[in-house]
Symmetry: C2
Subunit: 507 residues, 2 copies
């Protein structure tokens, strides 16, 4: 039989420092290969039902990744140019995350177990609720975090923790890193007696829609652009049986600097902002892209320009993104009223002819074009000069949903005005930051990495403990003899899980 | 200005016993009226931020409904013919539900509060997570529960509990009941110092899509048909900013009777099944619509037919549903191999010329037409005769997602075969029932009323404590001075809420 998969196209990546193609590391998957990957993952699902096996897998995956740190970081740096220091840190975040989800599975709160014994007075039967894994989860790797938001990232870790096998659509910017980390996680699975197919990997543009449409795909985790994410979201919603689509699409991450903050903390704010918007060469989903500064006080503007001018030129993740960044900055700079405080542009560096340098734009609040309210991926930020509270509100009212919103206050601004400002930002964002910066998304139980659309397509988070909730659904057992109940629902609580029994928490 | 709302069409209901129209009780809402209702609800949202006010509202609503019980039950019976006994019970369920959500808001677990203090060793800032109401919730009233799943029902109660104002699309089968209960809840709001517009009501077919499309509508709760629900789901997904759509669409609620159960409990199972599929005249979302019985043992068949033949004839909810039921039964009976064990049909009763009597169909597993796998709303059930485990599995493999799945076992069936049967049904359903019946959906924390598509369009429940989760989204505060945090996130826990602080539960 001849299929499109018989002569699959090779997958190359590109050296982002030079634009040169790198040797093929994989081949593109057509519909038949995607089908095979999803079926293999679905067949591996029963093996993941055992929680102890899942925690062993997550910890073994962390161990395997650490043992191959040199190989991984070398491949990721060659494919992304993010640098070995950053990538070593990202690997540490990745293994920390895998182990944190293992701890969470051990602890068991995520099952949300509720037991209500029969109550004849209320006419209520015995009811016991736990949570089940949804099935195969399709994960779309992100361009900008080849480890922590890709094959080995939080979507994969939380899905495996929930008991869901995963098929990852590799990102074309780092196929070798994807293949390497997939191989290591598959080996980790086998090392703990699980089938390697608890994690599958597919490459190629067409594999994405095929994965979302596959009847056995039960949910999707996506990190990427508004355009690509919305197209896949629409596919998920249009399926004969729609599935949950947890997508992180785009985010402007506005910052508000109050007049008194500018008057008292201009140097600190400017330096912090420059560090934040140039971190990872501005290729973070939480990059502060729009900064409201008091028009009357140029302090912050001067400080941010001075600090950003010192930032080293660096390559973007790929030449296409580089071109989009340079064009995006050019278009924004050409809008009426826009002042270029620091010119972004091509800045060939040693060994990196495609490097770019960061830029800062400024515009008056009453001349703010719609284009400036759209995310521009890369090291640029837009300062919006507001003259008074009315202008500030007018700008805030134009903002879309966003992952984060930040306020910079003076040390003594802790009263009703500051509270009102936070309250005003609350409907826009999933995370509010005070006197800090949104870059740096801590892997912590209290983290919320998700916000109103288009920041995310659901109310969930993709970072932190509650990310596991995305891949589970509740099920209740009614009037079921103990011999037929799973052990977590037995009266004696043999697994020692946290539960709510007849309205009271145990243990 | 002339708009479609200038000469709105009157809304009539129909006496389901006679088919006679009843006097107009309201007028249809066009786009302008829907817009006004949603805007008014959105303007009322800030007043719902106070939790104590919300619990007062829910309890006052229960009190107001109880005080007007006579008026409500009379209107509902005239519009639905469900009978005063059933409707009195449904009102008790409704007020119980309102008070249960109030208790839950007082208790506070639903906020899922997590506090992680800064940990410099992990490079982690201070993070504090709570949950926020999403905004205006659109609720679509159900035909078959004019109180407990309509204006005063669980979607409304859980949304108000979450802090979301509600605009209900009234069901055309009971507009007077809807208007009456809306008026009472609005009065209850005013009695506790809240704006009446925390609850709005709109009538008319066109109001539905307008409500789902409205930019200020933040989420939807729906109970109804697959066709209507899917159309609205598609609208919600196609919005410029998609919103969560929690819809309960259709459910077959399969029952498996084992050979030994049939051999030992035929009379009990037959009587129980007859009671369950004729309850509420078969107009329950959890009506058992497909019953797998052993082909070799006619005991259950005889018992269910004998019992169902005694059930009184009763009117359907409206003449259109009656026609659809009669046609649905006719079409199914005409499929090859289908045997009519008890003929459903028109059966004029005293004062109810439109009453129908229940029916029972039977068919061999290997002749089961696709049509018989579709829900048929009304008092009919299909017995499917299986000869062996292979035939049983073949039928189960053809089933769609469903709210419930039920097994009837013999008293001594508690071993691996019974466990395997439950395990086999688990992927299909949101609730597993053993030796009981799916009708009767207890309002309890452990209840799950929701299942794989098309049973529901999301992984949530519309009954029980966790129904509140549908209307909330998490938000994290990072590095925020205590003076600017809401009290539930203060270190001292002044509100005494359950929280998880640095990994430990308090209080």
């Amino acid at each position: 039989m001849h299929t499109a998969d018989d002569r699959p196209a090779p997958v190359h990546s590109t050296d982002p420092r030079t634009g040169e193609p790198r040797g093929p590391v994989a081949t593109e998957a057509g519909a038949a290969r995607v089908d095979a990957a999803v079926r293999a993952a679905a067949a591996a699902a029963p093996a993941l039902a055992d929680r102890a096996r899942r925690t062993a897998l997550l910890r073994a995956a962390a161990d395997h990744l650490e043992a191959a740190a040199g190989e991984i970081v070398t491949a990721a740096d060659a494919e992304t140019a993010l640098g070995t220091a950053r990538l070593t840190g990202e690997l540490a975040r990745t293994t920390y995350q895998l182990r944190a989800f293992a701890d969470q599975v051990d602890e068991g709160s995520f099952l949300d177990i509720v037991i209500d014994h029969a109550d004849p007075a209320l006419g209520r039967p015995d009811l016991r609720r736990t949570k089940l894994p949804l099935g195969v989860v399709a994960v779309f790797a992100a361009s900008n975090f080849p480890l922590a938001f890709s094959v080995s990232g939080g979507d994969t870790a939380s899905a495996l923790a929930a008991g869901c096998p995963v098929v990852v659509k590799a990102h074309p910017d780092h196929p070798e890193t994807g293949a390497t980390t997939a191989r290591l996680i598959r080996a980790a699975a086998e090392s703990v007696g699980l089938p390697a197919d608890v994690l599958g990997l597919v490459h190629g543009f067409d594999a994405g829609p095929a994965l979302v449409r596959h009847p056995l795909t039960a949910a999707v985790g996506f990190t990427g652009s508004v355009r690509g994410g919305r197209a896949l979201y629409d596919l998920a919603a249009a399926r004969p049986r729609p599935i949950p689509f947890h997508g992180e699409l785009g985010s402007l991450n506005p910052v508000v600097v109050t007049e008194r903050a500018a008057a008292t903390r201009a140097e600190e704010i400017g330096a912090g902002l420059a560090g934040s918007f140039t971190l990872g060469n501005g290729q973070f989903c939480v990059k502060p892209g729009l900064v409201l500064v008091p028009a009357a006080d140029p302090g912050v503007e001067k400080a941010v320009v001075a600090a950003a001018a010192q930032a080293p030129a660096a390559p973007m993740l790929d030449p296409r993104m580089r071109a989009a960044f340079l064009e995006g900055v050019r278009e924004r700079a050409a809008r009426p009223g826009v002042e270029v405080l620091l010119a972004a542009g091509a800045a060939p560096a040693d060994g990196a002819p495609l490097a770019v340098r960061p830029g800062v734009l400024a515009v008056a609040a009453d001349r703010l074009a719609d284009l400036l309210l759209e995310e521009c991926f890369g090291p640029v930020t837009v300062l919006v000069r507001y003259r008074d509270a009315t202008e500030l509100e007018t700008v805030l009212a134009r903002l879309d949903g966003t992952l984060t919103a930040t306020v910079q206050l003076a040390a003594d601004e802790r009263g009703p005005d500051a509270a009102a400002l936070l309250q005003r930002l609350l409907p826009l964002a999933g995370r509010l930051v005070v006197d800090g910066w949104p870059t740096g998304v801590a892997v912590a139980p209290a983290m919320q990495h998700g916000g109103p659309y288009p920041a995310t397509t659901s109310t969930s988070t993709s970072v932190g403990a509650t990310a596991i909730e995305r891949w589970l659904r509740p099920v209740s057992y009614q009037n079921t003899p103990e011999e037929l109940l799973p052990p977590e629902l037995h009266d004696a609580n043999p697994l020692g899980l946290p539960r709510r029994v007849d309205g009271r928490r145990e243990p």
